[in-house]
């Protein structure tokens, strides 16, 4: 079993520890419930860096989860496999779901392995309503092999105008880049790796980072 950024994991909150030695997790984290989200960061062997969502956007907390304490794990791709948006009560009225219905057909038509992250991913995984009128649609495309800038631009063009803001990340073996930025004209793009962000012109081809980047045993 491997953990990648955006995976949701279920774990007893009491097993979590604060990311920095000598600090403690706030009460709302320890007393809360629901899955936590795997973050992109380095962690000691046996631990997974996670983020916890609170009731408000200001309540976001980083923590470390012990690998052997994980009860269940769901990745963004498996959330898309079962097409839960088709059974959603707001599928024909909420901008995020209307957008997702259209993009799902488009992405599947391109034979891309893609998934749902962010608040909608959390909602699909837990059944807890997360969408609000200003919600964005956050998607991830698994991209183990290079996607050319021309292919990215074609995809962005086909996506066209959407009912809500859409953030699509390309998950390369080394970290994530934004599809829209890769489709644009900037020579270098921002890549979020486990060792921090960097600017690169070659997000799929870099040997400076170790080969286990992005995938942690768990």
């Amino acid at each position: 079993m491997n953990c990648r950024a955006h995976d949701l994991i279920w774990i007893e909150r009491g097993h979590l520890r604060a990311p920095l030695p000598g600090t403690e997790l706030p009460d709302w984290v320890v007393s809360g419930s629901g899955p936590v989200v795997v973050r992109r960061a380095n962690a000691d062997y046996g631990w997974i860096p996670v983020g916890i969502r609170g009731k408000t956007k200001a309540e976001r907390q980083a923590a470390l989860a012990p690998i052997n304490g994980i009860d269940k794990q769901v990745n963004p791709y498996s959330l898309a496999d079962t097409k839960p948006w088709l059974n959603h009560a707001e599928r024909d009225s909420h901008p995020v779901l209307m957008t997702l219905c259209r993009l799902a057909t488009l992405l599947n038509g391109h034979l891309l392995r893609w998934g749902v992250t962010g608040s909608l991913g959390y909602e699909f995984a837990t059944g807890e309503a997360q969408l609000h009128p200003e919600s964005d649609l956050d998607l991830v495309i698994d991209a183990p092999n290079p996607i050319s800038r021309e292919q990215a631009a074609t995809l962005i063009q086909m996506i066209g105008t959407t009912h809500c803001r859409v953030d699509i990340q390309l998950e390369t073996p080394w970290g994530a880049i934004a599809l829209a930025e890769w489709a644009g004209s900037s020579a270098q793009v921002l890549q979020k790796t486990n060792t921090g962000p960097r600017l690169t012109a070659t997000p799929w081809a870099d040997v400076r980072v170790s080969s286990d980047e992005g995938v942690k045993p768990c």
Partner: protein, 103 residues
């Protein structure tokens, strides 16, 4: 959205307008325009409340590495980390300055 503004001493320099970054969570968009005089005016719109001290620290870190050109810089921040902010601002200044070399 919270609005912050910093005015910092800068070097008169011939730069061109530049736009870098990405409107998406954990990222930011940075626009640079040339400004007469010797000041850098940095205008920030951020989704992270109470982040003024953090922004001041990031700007000071950048100043320690590169000389700010006289400019107006507009930033739309979507809860980016300090590491991402630093990279994006340096990318914008580099692009604005590189265009001058090409002109």
């Amino acid at each position: 959205m919270e609005t912050l503004q910093f005015t910092r001493p800068a070097q008169a320099a011939r730069i061109q307008p530049a736009l870098v970054g990405y409107v998406g969570s954990g990222d930011l968009e940075v626009m640079v325009e040339p400004l007469q005089g010797s000041q850098a005016e940095i205008h920030i719109q951020t989704s992270t409340p109470g982040s003024e001290i953090r922004w001041r620290q990031v700007i000071e870190q950048i100043e320690a590495r590169i000389a700010l050109p006289a400019m107006r810089m507009d930033i739309h921040d979507f809860a980016a980390t300090p590491g991402v902010i630093r990279l994006r601002i340096e990318q914008a200044i580099e692009l604005a300055s590189a265009m001058e070399a090409q002109a």
